[in-house]
């Protein structure tokens, strides 16, 4: 380890798409990467051993939740989240702002920070950029996120303008407050809603700060897919080639494949574990729901070609017997779904390096849409990076 907290090496590209290795204090990460979400210091129901066997090299923790319980002081006293949850690989924490705005009814954003009413005792507290970084410094993740002024993705007008400029003002407060740049990487978040002009202003501001990596925020919140991919593309065209790009909160397989083609390196989403709790398993053809009666006598694994421990050891019929809200069923499907996401990223990584990305994506999309009724936005987005689904 060279003493820098982050190194990013590209092994191959295909138009905008990149395959690389991101090296952080807790080891190397092959990109593109999917990061499972462990909100409260655990991936729902999985032991760290199961997680190790699954193999993600980075997972997420949520600052809002961990800052609330067990709290920053406990976090500091137990030596940070790595030690607390006995996780030897990399961690990323968010700033806490997004969760606050989405979870707390009374949250209000002022220049000082995110003002909110304590869910315990009703007192008014403020999560400032300084406070967010202080908590994240105590949690000790390898990547920490700047506090940004989050607005709903379809917000327009003066409020959106304000949020864009404030996000830039807050990044300086975050940088100033950050006490561990030697072993924690502060990523800035590009805001600006669906307005290309504002996105560019935010990009200008953040790129001047020369941060170790950049995230694209404010998407995946109800905007049209057409608007979504265009903003992603706008950002990836401008973000530096030698730094990792993280698209926050995006995790549907089709979306990730398109966004990798557009130049994204990192994703996170609760989708694979959340959908598992409803009995849904991710397969090359899309999603199957194991609660459905058609699987009652199906003695094949979820996916014949999957090497995860669930597919090696259990049949669809067995999981179906557990599907009445049983946590074992959810756990078995979660293992598979995370394995699916990691496998998909690995497939993209390999195909970029070997120059087969276009074939890989065409075959992926054909399995997802056997009638070739591809959504227009997928066709358009891939066309923009010269990947043709129709020959």
């Amino acid at each position: 380890h060279s003493g820098r907290a982050l190194e990013f090496e590209l092994h191959g590209t295909h138009n905008m798409a990149r395959a690389g290795t991101l090296t952080l204090p807790h080891g190397p990460i092959s990109t593109p990467v999917f990061m499972p979400v462990g909100t409260q210091g655990t991936i729902k129901g999985l032991t760290t051993k199961q997680l190790h066997e699954l193999g993600p090299s980075i997972i997420l923790g949520n600052t809002y939740h961990l800052g609330h319980r067990p709290g920053p002081e406990v976090m500091k006293n137990v030596g940070g989240l790595h030690s607390f949850m006995n996780w030897g690989r990399n961690l990323l924490t968010d700033s806490g702002g997004f969760q606050m705005v989405s979870l707390l009814k009374l949250a209000e954003i002022t220049e000082e920070g995110v003002k909110f009413e304590s869910p315990h005792d009703g007192t008014i507290l403020v999560l400032t950029p300084e406070k967010s970084i202080e908590i994240q410094n105590k949690i000790g993740a390898d990547i920490i996120m700047a506090l940004d002024d989050v607005v709903h993705s379809t917000t327009t007008g003066p409020r959106l303008e304000e949020s864009t400029h404030r996000t830039i003002r807050w990044i300086d407060r975050c940088i100033k407050a950050h006490t561990r740049p030697h072993d924690q990487n502060l990523f800035g978040i590009v805001q600006g809603g669906l307005d290309p002009g504002l996105r560019n202003i935010c990009l200008d501001g953040l790129l001047q700060r020369d941060l170790p990596g950049y995230a694209i925020g404010g998407l995946s919140g109800g905007e049209s897919k057409d608007e979504f991919w265009k903003i992603v593309f706008l950002c990836t065209c401008r973000l530096p080639k030698d730094k990792p790009r993280y698209l926050m909160g995006v995790g549907f397989p089709v979306d990730m494949v398109v966004c990798v083609a557009l130049g994204i390196d990192m994703f996170d989403c609760v989708y694979p574990t959340r959908t598992a709790r409803f009995g849904s398993a991710l397969v090359p053809s899309g999603v199957i729901n194991l609660k459905h009666n058609r699987y009652q006598y199906d003695f094949t694994p979820i996916d014949n070609n999957c090497t995860c421990s669930t597919c090696k050891n259990y049949t669809r019929a067995y999981i179906h017997t557990l599907s009445h809200g049983d946590e074992l069923g959810a756990q078995l499907i979660s293992v598979h779904n995370i394995a699916y996401q990691l496998g998909l990223m690995n497939g993209l990584h390999q195909s970029i390096i070997s120059g087969n990305l276009e074939e890989f994506i065409c075959s992926f999309m054909e399995q997802q849409f056997p009638k070739k009724d591809y959504p227009n936005w997928v066709v358009d987005a891939l066309n923009a990076v010269e990947i043709k689904l129709f020959k």
């Binding site: 655990t42 729902k44 129901g45 406990v74 006293n77 137990v78 019929a317 946590e327 074992l328």
Partner: protein
């Protein structure tokens, strides 16, 4: 269906035990052996709740898995069609024994006249004897209990007589049904009626059963009553067959039952501790005269905030996955935020600890030191602190 060869079942008493006191034995099927006294682990699908079969594999002392009728009844046709037995279907460790029990250690259901009622996930169902036979065969269990008609301890003599009568009738029907698997444990019922308990024991002993299940315990009887009735029943059944008890599980009860000659336990003790956020902490080998501190109590609740920065394992020196990898602080956090992993981690420890307790018991019986062990245990951990 697989080529059904009847599973074998052999129980051998070790000579070091005594006929009417604590004893050690070995249960064999075709390939494997299990030492007694032992505990059957139970959970909604034959795996302790919050665990999976991979986690169970890491606990070497877990050797017999108890599946309750209520939890598999609905899946009879699926298991039949699968055709390779329940162990394979559920990915249970191959060397483990599989026991199918008519009663569920977690719940008590009183059956109505002439039928066995079970609470399945989609509601109550009345189990037909032929369905039970099909289940035993399709699951390819190593041994199973007869169908029973349980009564609580405050029932009239009339109900007690009926409970014995129906349980015997169902056992006869089961034997006559020609199930390929003959490894049935006869269930001794009779509630609080001494005469009926004796009759039930004597009559069951005359049937071709491979072992006995002492039914109707762990309900509303007192400890004195329980011990009296266990003695009463055990003196009526042949000593060369294994005796199982359902519903009795705290360490004091276990030691008392082993002392009386019980070989196999099935209960919800561990599961209940885990649900309450409690971890089993008693010293497995207490030393005479040593004062055990608060932290060496039978169990402690990790829900308590005093553990929130406690970076020690649940039990120092414990070899379970949880204690080797995680701290009280982390578990306390997981429990307080209602994350599943909290219960998973304490369940792993609890099952490990409890099964290790049985190993220590066997060692003491074999070494002839059981009485001393039991005495030291009761002195070290007075019941009042439990």
């Amino acid at each position: 269906m697989q080529d059904s060869v009847s599973p074998t079942f052999k129980f051998t008493l070790l000579s070091t035990g005594t006929i009417s006191g604590p004893r050690c034995g070995i249960i064999c099927n075709r390939e494997n052996e299990v030492d007694t006294p032992c505990i059957l682990v139970h959970g909604a699908v034959g795996i302790p709740n919050h665990m999976n079969s991979e986690l169970l594999r890491d606990i070497p002392e877990v050797r017999v898995q108890h599946v309750a009728l209520a939890d598999v009844y609905e899946n009879l046709k699926v298991i039949e069609q699968f055709g390779e037995g329940f162990k394979k279907f559920s990915n249970f460790p191959n060397q483990n024994f599989l026991y199918l029990g008519c009663t569920d250690p977690t719940f008590f259901y009183e059956s109505t006249q002439g039928s066995v009622l079970v609470q399945t996930r989609s509601g109550r169902a009345s189990v037909d004897l032929s369905e039970y036979v099909r289940l035993v065969e399709a699951m390819d269990v190593d041994f199973y209990s007869g169908l029973t008609y349980d009564v609580t301890w405050n029932h009239s003599r009339k109900r007690c007589i009926k409970s014995v009568q129906l349980t015997l009738e169902m056992l006869d029907e089961l034997i006559e049904a020609g199930c390929k698997n003959k490894n049935v444990f006869g269930v001794i019922e009779g509630g609080s009626d001494r005469k009926e308990r004796i009759r039930s024991a004597q009559e069951t002993a005359q049937r071709p059963v491979v072992g006995f299940l002492l039914g109707g315990f762990g309900l509303d009887e007192s400890t004195t009553q329980r011990n009296e009735y266990i003695h009463l029943v055990l003196s009526e059944i042949p000593p060369d067959k294994p005796r199982m008890i359902n519903g009795v599980g705290d360490p004091y009860e276990v030691l008392s039952c082993v002392e009386m000659g019980i070989d196999i336990f099935t209960n919800s003790f561990v599961g209940q501790a885990t649900e309450q956020g409690c971890v089993l902490t008693w010293n497995l080998t207490p030393q005479k005269g040593k004062i055990y501190l608060d932290s060496d109590k039978i169990m402690i609740s990790l829900l308590h905030t005093k553990f929130k920065e406690d970076m020690s394992p649940i039990v120092h020196g414990c070899g379970c996955y949880t204690c080797l990898n995680h701290t009280r602080a982390y578990i306390c956090h997981l429990l307080s935020v209602h994350e599943m992993l909290g219960h998973t981690l304490i369940q792993i420890h609890n099952v490990f600890h409890y099964t290790a307790f049985f190993k220590v018991i066997r060692e003491n019986v074999k070494g002839g030191t059981f009485e001393e062990y039991k005495k030291t245990f009761f002195e070290s951990f007075p019941i009042t602190t439990f």
